[in-house]
Subunit: 338 residues, 4 copies
């Protein structure tokens, strides 16, 4: 059994990691940190873990924990303080924040509003989207786990950009459930405000924008520009991103489908489907991609559970690759369906 | 035109009051206070009022405002500081908090956790449920506007207690939309927590319990005990309270209906119906009451929009009575239906 | 008092018309038809009308009803059987279906899948979007009431197309509450299917597409192409359409705002706002328009209540114009806000 | 590997069974029937099963399928036609309908409105609630899988009735998500009708009522009467039943908790908790029970996912017992939590 830990085990991605890891056949969740809950049993805070976890939160990860890999599930800005310590101790790390997703420190400063204090590890970090970068993830010591919006958009757009059939100018109209915004109460997440509404926010300024641009360029060799408009919808889990691309030439819906089929045909977690469905993937690490050609455009939908394939499930998938375990171990279950 | 003001114009009940008053044919909303928004236009904060209100928030109500009546829409504990000043200045007041709803200062302390600092006005305050206490409200200088849960439960129970056909021991299983909890973000109101759940809270300890007991006793002359279990449901507006009473004797559903028909037959805002519906009353000052006899018990449903008949609409109804205006003025519109 | 009727009074738009008309100061709702409910009191079916309407459903509108204007709230295909009879009898008509929205019979056949049997009246029908075509509506005998999606998209796009600052190629990513789909149960509207999901449908093939294209061309003199993707979201009322346009030249967000301000500055029901909000307009005839410039693109949001400004409220607004009544009569109330 | 089949594989309980069984380590889902989908791949209909199931729907279960056990997931009335054939062929059966839940054919007729055609097997059927009747289920050839509401109410009430501390007269105010009503669209399940409301139905007449009474009597030896009021709430999955019982004597909350702790302390799937949570159990076979003493009453909450512990998960739990497999096999995962 490998031994893994989570720094930041109270928040939603930490909580979701603990849900997934407690069922993992080859990994033991050996440590979770939480400043506010240190000393309390994990299953007293995450009550859904009753019967699945006996450990307690600790203040910090300790060298004596003998961990093989640590998930950093803290806010951005904090993660880049934790990661160097882990890497220096020879512990593999997966960062679920945005701190290691952008290759360029200037671009990081521009989008995150503060400097990057760990440029060395930034240089070596691998973007953890297995369906596109599986090989690199296998050998990585540090993986930057993709953002939830970003994963949904990249999965929908990268194959067509890679095939060279669309122009470089992409519109991503992204709709997310509310759990993507984290566990801290705020006016925007207050139920009477968002519970029966659709709320655009960070219009054109969301931090997943440069991440999508970089990942698609890394994959395809083609630079793209993304216009991203995130919108909060009144569900808890799930993202549906509608991505609009202009076709370079006359091409049929079938030909477009064939490109996706070629890309994802062998994948266990990403499926090209006729009718994309949040309910079909919710609770699971699966994602749907779908597309329609409309005149000279194609709209491609990327659909996933923001807490699983959009965060903690994908992190476990990366962990499996990094530790040389079967890629699907611990996350091999279908979505709820209903 | 009468001139009225609102102390505490930012919160949900203040906001709802401004929505209703801006359409009132005989009343002008002349002043709204807000500590945090003082100086800003009301329609910049409550954007739905664009075109309906030109005034700005002020720090305080001023004597020079020349107000006939003031709504106090502050948290409990604060209201009892504001009300005496108004009454002393000869301004009528309607308090939407719980500060003047219980007749007894000891009972107030017991349920609200602090002493009552204005026992004089407490003695004269009238409980503002027009369908039961219309006469007293007409002559009142100070009205304690009922709680949202309380209104729904009292409307459902008072007629049967008054008719002497049920025992004094009532169970009220109450379900409320989230706007009843106010505008301050909190873990319980955080969408990812409550958006796809049903959440019991204040089980057996909710402050509307003694209020229901007192109001029903005042109306019927019979003391009752209420076991109240509030539960948050994932809608924004609306309450449905299921009230369980044991029948003293064998009585048919038709006979029970007849009691309600007699009580509410002449009412404009309270309707006895076969199928109670939140959607039929939402957005309006109307309430539904319905009942079913099941063996030796009756379950009575009280349904309303917690912000209108459960708060600000009922306050306007009381204001109309206190000022000698037509009771339905400004609030005479049907529910949304769909 | 003018006397008006509704053909098709059971469905959601008919129901909403009855809700609005029962409060109208200068119009009497004198007749509602319903095949299935003929003979039953309207308030027994639409229970929210208790106390607001005493009439009963009839099988048909009769000549002896002495009606000045009739709303046709039937499905498309049926409306074009009803409208000629009304026009021939000298009764003004407002059709809420799609039958009279497209000028060209061939285009109608193409999008609606059957021929048009009333080309004469089609020629004279006026598109009932008052903010753009107020003058023509005033003199019209037949108004084609715009679609809900269409209204939201046109309000957001027409001013910029009219100002000549955007290219003719528009993407409309439209999100609608479920009441827009009508009252007939179907798998897509089944709560377990749609209640916690976002569901794209009629991708690139929705019938409001040609309607938007025609209305914008009529208004601006410029032909446009619209790529429209409707998506069902789990709320009952409300539409938010995100419309993406490419700018012809470098232009600031302020300059774009100024165009909208010029167009809608004098309007009572359409407001240019910083933060568009479904809750601020829901239950009312108001609409929000908002915009953000992102690089060489602008995203404009059109927000409204699909049953009011998107259907029945707008129809009443048109009726007021057609009958020479104050345009805001009967629909002059703010949105719910919360 | 055991081989199992499902009669009625299209509906929600059949769909959920296929979701759970496709991950079961010791059971192979070898056959699913569906009249309407016969011949189509299961994963084309239940798209969440892509990658998990290769089989196709068949018209009927065949003797040559060599099945060890069959789940009957048809409507009541149909199940009692299927079960005898299975039992006669020596195939074990678990019926998810109501057909085998009531011991008495007259009581069945009274509540289900038609006669029972299979009284022999009815006599031998075992009520499939493992936490109360584990021993009998182990040896059973036919298990009547409990109703979703019934499970939530029985789990909350049976221990206190069994301990003899409450009177025999129980009120169950039950709230359910919409998936409990099945996949057939209907006016009550139409999103615009139920999506922002709480809807009481079958008040005092729901068929789970006699089932609760019988199961509690079987467990405790004490006859009880249940007043049950089901209410639809706008979530897809989840039930919270609030059960009100009168205490026979003065007893503390701690003493009540101790009774539950004794009953469920050793259980894997049923947990006594301080704060019951639908989200903590949703997607899983776990249930929460909680209680509060209020004066001379106790309110006990029973919480579960209606499709898992309330239907298909519990059926798999029973199957495990019947086949001599580890009871938790295939269903041993925590709830979603968020």
């Amino acid at each position: 059994m490998y031994r893994v830990g989570i720094i930041g085990g109270t928040g939603y991605t930490g909580s979701e990691l603990s849900r997934l890891l407690c069922m993992h056949p080859e990994v033991e969740l050996a440590a979770l940190t939480s400043r506010q809950n240190a000393g309390r049993k994990v299953s007293d805070i995450h009550t859904f873990l009753k019967g699945y976890s006996d450990i307690s939160f600790t203040e910090k990860i300790s060298d004596t924990d003998g961990l093989d890999l640590v998930f950093v599930a803290t806010p951005h800005g904090v993660a880049m303080d934790e990661v160097p310590k882990l890497i220096d101790s020879g512990v593999k790390a997966i960062d679920l924040s945005g701190d290691y997703r952008l290759r360029d420190v200037d671009r990081y400063s521009e989008w995150y509003g503060h400097g990057h204090t760990d440029p060395e590890n930034l240089r070596d970090a691998v973007y953890g989207l297995p369906e596109l970068f599986r090989g690199k993830i296998r050998g990585a010591d540090l993986v930057a786990n993709p953002g939830c919006y970003a994963t949904s958009i990249i999965l929908a757009c990268a194959p067509l950009v890679g095939a060279g059939i669309v122009f470089d100018d992409i519109i991503a109209d992204a709709k997310s459930g509310t759990s993507g915004a984290g566990m801290i109460p705020s006016p925007r997440l207050h139920h009477p405000f968002c519970g029966e509404s659709v709320i655009p926010y960070s219009v054109g300024t969301h931090r997943h924008t440069p991440e999508v641009e970089e990942a698609v360029r890394m994959f395809s060799g083609t630079g793209i520009r993304v216009t991203m408009v995130p919108q909060l919808i009144p569900i808890v889990r799930g993202i549906l991103s509608s991505c609009y691309m202009r076709l370079k030439k006359d091409i049929s819906g079938e030909e477009v489908s064939a490109i996706y089929a070629k890309q994802y045909g062998g994948e266990h977690f990403v499926h090209y489907v006729e009718e994309p469905s949040i309910r079909a993937v919710v609770g699971s690490n699966h994602a749907h991609v779908s597309s329609n050609v409309i005149g000279d455009k194609v709209v491609a939908f990327g659909v996933l559970d923001n807490l699983v394939k959009g965060a903690s499930g994908q992190a476990v998938q990366c962990m499996n690759l990094m530790l040389g375990i079967e890629e699907t171990a611990g996350i091999d279950s279908p979505g709820l369906g209903v």
